[in-house]
């Protein structure tokens, strides 16, 4: 059981390097629910909000489970547009404030208002992003290279790039050349 002091001294550095090579990572397993509604049977028949809106561009926003067609639960954050990110951040903040209300009726009403605000915010983002695509399309038609206006299979490249833009896809190299 001989262990030299040199190897003992190197052990701290080995441990530090090994541990620091890890970064924290986590995810939510299953559904989540607003704080304060988890005691007992939360999630069964109540207005448990399932934050599904953290998905990508155009995803269905969070919705009450009272809805007739509730979205599948997803309580993990995935990248989305900055505009939608702000909507979600505002919603989380509003929901947190609602969670502080003692009265259940008031709390649920508050959460419904927060959810409606979130839906409205997402819709505004969608309209804003569509307008940006329209502006790029006009720029493509007016100032893009002539190849962008040439029709292939009934659609010009400007038109195809506009469709990509509306779908939330990043512009291809050809689209970037066409002012997208």
């Amino acid at each position: 059981m001989e262990l030299g002091v040199n190897s003992m001294r190197s052990l701290p550095w080995i441990a530090v390097i090994a541990i620091s090579s890890f970064t924290a990572c986590n995810y939510t397993e299953g559904e989540c629910y607003p704080r304060g509604q988890g005691g007992g049977n939360a999630g069964v028949g109540g207005s448990v909000v399932v934050p599904n809106g953290a998905g990508g561009f155009g995803d269905v926003p969070p919705e009450s489970q009272d809805a007739t067609d509730p979205p599948p639960p997803d309580c993990n954050i995935v990248p989305q547009s900055p505009c939608n990110e702000k909507c979600l951040a505002d919603y989380v903040e509003a929901a947190a404030e609602c969670g502080k209300l003692e009265n259940e009726t008031q709390r649920r009403a508050c959460q419904d208002v927060a959810f409606l605000g979130y839906k409205s915010c997402r819709e505004n983002c969608r309209q804003k992003e569509n307008k940006e695509c329209d502006d790029k399309y006009q720029d493509c038609i007016n100032h893009g290279p002539s190849s962008c206006r040439k029709e292939e299979a009934g659609k010009s490249l400007c038109n195809r790039c506009w469709e990509r833009c509306n779908a939330g896809d990043s512009p291809s190299a050809r689209c970037r050349n066409c002012k997208f």
Partner: protein, 157 residues
């Protein structure tokens, strides 16, 4: 400078864990192995497996932390600190949401053991871990745990 003693130890501790906004009871069986030099320097590997009893519909949580500690030892005890790595599956609540978190976290650990009846004594440990990731429940923050309980050791001189 040769290692003077190898020591195995174990025990069961009780305490509190705070991950997010709600503290939880933690029952933590733990075990460790340590090497002690003649000068009193200590290197130890600890593993603590904490069970977090159910308090809501999300059920029981488990939180395992392994650490590599360095410290000092004396006849009747020791004290050590070091980096740790935790793996967990546990219910938690953030500011707005609650749910079950699964993840991996680096962190730190400190532990002291005092033996007052032969190989039997008391162990107190504190852990802190960086919680973060894509969970909407706890996308960032720290988890802290303090537990204490009876412990025993077996030494090989």
């Amino acid at each position: 400078m040769p290692v003077e003693a190898l020591e195995l130890r174990g025990g069961v501790s009780l305490g509190v864990m705070l991950a997010g906004t709600q503290p939880r009871l933690a029952v933590s069986p733990h075990a460790g192995i340590s090497w002690r030099t003649e000068s009193g320097f200590l290197f130890a590997i600890h593993d603590s497996f904490s069970i977090l009893p159910a308090t809501n519909k999300d059920g029981v949580g488990v939180y395992n932390q392994t650490s590599a500690d360095f410290g000092v030892a004396w006849d009747k005890g020791d004290f050590s600190v070091g980096p740790s790595l935790s793996i967990y599956s546990m219910p938690a609540c953030g500011v707005a949401w609650c749910g079950r978190l699964v993840g991996l976290s680096p962190g730190g650990h400190a532990q002291t053991n005092v033996y007052f009846a032969g190989p039997f004594g008391v162990s107190v440990s504190a852990n802190i871990a960086w919680i973060g990731g894509i969970s909407l429940v706890l996308p960032g923050g720290v988890a802290a745990m303090v537990v204490a309980g009876p412990a025993f050791r077996w030494s090989s001189e």
